[in-house]
């Protein structure tokens, strides 16, 4: 009689495909997963605790380090929450600058996702292609705020730096370039039979499950739920622009792939329109009190980050520091569905599914 037993395999925290220090303990029978338990907290820095001792402006750099692939949107959710509580008016130019950097960030973030996802699938080249184009965005950000990853760009009431001379033109030039390149990417990868065989029908869930697990962003939309906070609960000046929200049908990795690729295009569309209306001059900071003290009370503000709904819940007691600051991190919430998706899949699909959820461990652990 042959004795078989399940193998307990530690995937991570040091593993090439967990995108950082994320760990999954999987039980495998041969190569088939019978149970998966995610373990996290390796990158927990206690942002929420630290924030309680810092002024609101001082917290902004900490938000950079949560979702470090999309720092601009994390910046924005915090300042937007404070502005909502203080009911501040944001100057037009600052609004546009914010929107432009957020959409550029979305493009950059999805490019990183695209590259790393294909690297997970085993194709090496797209990663470098994606980083070449992301580099252009990073360079623009660097010129704008002097940092490549942790921008610390937004401030309560506006933005820290105005666009330097010629910056807007660079963005204008980037849009058609990126559109063309995106087509090229579709030609290169999106029709590849091996790639399609790897992602079609893998990691499927229906709309009911997606809603139940509180998924957001492309993960929710892939299951056919048309929900994009930029459209459904508009913030900033998104209601002025015309763009589509791509929605999937099957809720599999393929749909998530297509949606993210399409979102790049839609972001470019928004940028195009924003470039046309971009105010030539104006203030970049609104009238903000010297010390930022949101009035007593609380507010939960959420925006659409590249990974989904990122929220900031401020409980203020009228002081310069928040009484309690909670971030709803989309990666953390989206990840919850992972154990459910992994059961019955092979080790290979573990990588495919985890990659398609698109997590940033800095955000999962906060």
């Amino acid at each position: 009689m042959i004795r078989t037993e399940e193998l307990l395999l530690n995937v991570g925290p040091q593993h090439p495909s967990t995108h950082g220090v994320f760990r999954i303990i999987v039980k495998i029978d041969g190569e088939v997963i019978t149970e998966a338990t995610p373990v996290m907290g390796y990158l927990h820095r206690g942002t929420e605790k630290l924030a309680e001792a810092l002024t609101y402006t001082q917290i902004i750099p900490y938000t950079d380090r949560m979702d470090y692939v999309s720092a601009m949107t994390s910046n924005y959710v915090l300042v937007h929450a404070v502005e909502t509580m203080m009911q501040l008016e944001i100057p037009e130019r600052a609004q546009f600058l914010r929107l432009v950097v957020m959409e550029l960030q979305r493009v950059a973030s999805h490019l990183v996702w695209w590259g790393t996802y294909l690297l997970d699938i085993g194709a090496m080249t797209p990663f470098l292609y994606a980083f070449r184009d992301r580099e252009k965005i990073i360079e623009m950000f660097n010129e704008l705020c002097g940092a490549r990853l942790t921008y610390n760009y937004m401030r309560v009431g506006g933005v820290k730096w105005d666009a330097p001379a010629g910056w807007i033109d660079k963005v204008r030039e980037f849009i058609p370039y990126m559109k063309k390149t995106l087509e090229e990417y579709h030609n290169l990868v999106s029709g590849n039979e091996i790639f399609l065989a790897r992602i079609k029908g893998v990691g499927k869930y229906d709309a009911q499950a997606a809603i139940d697990y509180g998924l957001s962003g492309a993960n929710l939309r892939s299951a056919g739920v048309k929900w994009d906070l930029r459209k459904d609960q508009p913030y900033s000046i998104y209601d002025r622009f015309d763009f589509d929200v791509p929605v999937g049908v099957n809720g599999d990795c393929y749909d998530r792939y297509v949606i993210r690729m399409e979102e790049i295009r839609q972001s470019l569309r928004i940028l195009e329109q924003a470039m046309a209306e971009f105010p030539t001059d104006g203030d970049i900071m609104g009238k903000v009190p010297r010390v930022i003290r949101p009035p007593e009370g609380e507010a939960y503000v959420r925006i659409e980050s590249p990974r989904g709904e990122i929220g900031c819940h401020i409980v203020s007691r009228g002081k310069a520091e928040p009484y309690r600051l909670k971030f709803r991190r989309p990666s953390f919430v989206n990840l919850q569905i992972l154990p459910k998706l992994l059961v019955g899949e092979t080790m290979t699909n573990l990588v495919t599914i985890l990659g398609s959820i698109d997590i940033v461990v800095g955000e999962v652990d906060a």
């Binding site: 090439p16 194709a123 090496m124 470098l128 070449r132 790639f195 790897r198 092979t346 290979t348 573990l350």
Partner: protein
């Protein structure tokens, strides 16, 4: 060369054999060194990178530096590993990869053996390397390595069969298992090359060969993004170098074998081009095959285990049987 090989073995011959064997080893090592260099360069260019360019002129010494680093690196053996097997595994993997080079003819006059079952010898020996890989995976006492080793065993067995059956078509046409004879049967214009009548066999052979080489898109045993490094995850230093070396030696062997079997060996594509020496033609074709391997590595994603299996058993095997059958029928009726 032919007369020389027929002589009875004496001390004199033996020394010459030994020296030529060592020369061949050095050539293959040199080839591997620069194969890696060109792989990195070519893939670098395909990916808008420069590739190695710091060590030596144009980075030519990069691979040399890498090998030197591996040699000087601490050699670690995991505490719980099966020590003897752990040490044995890279040797078992490497030795056959070098031994198969013996049967490859490079030109009409340059060859090392004239074995009448050359092709069989090649395929039989290359199968042994799989044992080394499985052994390495098992002896490491590491779960990832074990998974990698098991994948490797499954993959090798599945692809060895279509590989062999796809070349039987060539054997039927040539009427010989001797690689030199097979090459000589393709003399003349390029439509005499086996690739023309055996195009189906060639396609199957190429796919199966890439799978045998564990290269993208069939690099499942080492699948970096899933199994970290697969079967050699616990190896370091020189033992790791041996695994890499055998992998690249097989690339050399497969590229040479493809050239001999399907691309007309050392013959020029047209008779009037024969003023260029056969060795050059051989090298050109060989380089093309090698480049093709780089190319697909930079292009394709990895397959999944179950897809790999179904491709091997449901497609390649039946197709290779069809190819064999059609070839046999053709040979029976028309020749």
């Amino acid at each position: 060369m032919e007369d020389f090989l027929q002589k009875t073995l004496g001390w004199g011959n033996f020394t010459i054999f030994a020296i030529s064997g060592i020369v061949m080893l050095l050539i293959s090592l040199g080839f591997v060194t620069y194969f890696i260099y060109f792989e990195r360069k070519v893939i670098g260019w395909m990916q808008f990178r420069i590739g190695p360019n710091r060590t030596g002129p144009f980075g030519l010494l990069q691979s040399v530096a890498d090998v030197a680093k591996l040699l000087m690196k601490e050699d670690t053996i995991p505490k719980k590993a099966d020590k003897e097997l752990f040490i044995l595994a890279p040797i078992i993997t490497y030795v056959p990869s070098f031994m198969v080079l013996a049967v490859i003819p490079y030109s009409e006059t340059l060859y090392f053996t004239d074995l009448n079952v050359g092709l069989l010898y090649y395929i039989a020996l290359s199968g042994i390397s799989t044992i080394g890989i499985v052994l390495g995976g098992w002896a490491s006492n590491n779960k990832y390595a074990l998974l990698g080793g098991m994948r490797s065993a499954a993959q090798m067995i599945s692809y060895e069969i279509p590989l062999v059956i796809s070349v039987t078509g060539v054997i039927l046409i040539s009427g010989s298992l001797n690689l030199r004879m097979i090459a000589m049967g393709q003399e003349g214009w390029f439509w005499n090359w086996n690739i023309v009548p055996q195009i189906l066999g060639f396609v199957i052979f190429t796919i199966a060969a890439v799978a045998e080489l564990n290269r993208t898109p069939f690099d499942l045993p080492e699948a970096e993004s899933e199994l970290i490094a697969g079967y050699h995850v616990e190896y370091s230093g020189f033992r790791f170098a041996f695994f890499m070396l055998s992998e690249y030696t097989y690339v050399y062997a497969i590229a040479a074998l493809t050239t001999v079997l399907f691309l007309g060996g050392w013959y020029a594509p047209a008779p009037f081009l024969e003023f260029i020496p056969g060795l050059v033609w051989f090298f050109v074709k060989f380089a093309f095959v090698v480049f093709f391997l780089f190319w697909i590595r930079a292009t394709l994603p990895r397959m999944r285990v179950d897809q790999l299996m179904s491709l091997g058993w449901k497609w390649l095997l039946p197709l290779s049987l069809v190819n064999l059958f059609v070839t046999a029928l053709y040979m029976e009726i028309f020749k």
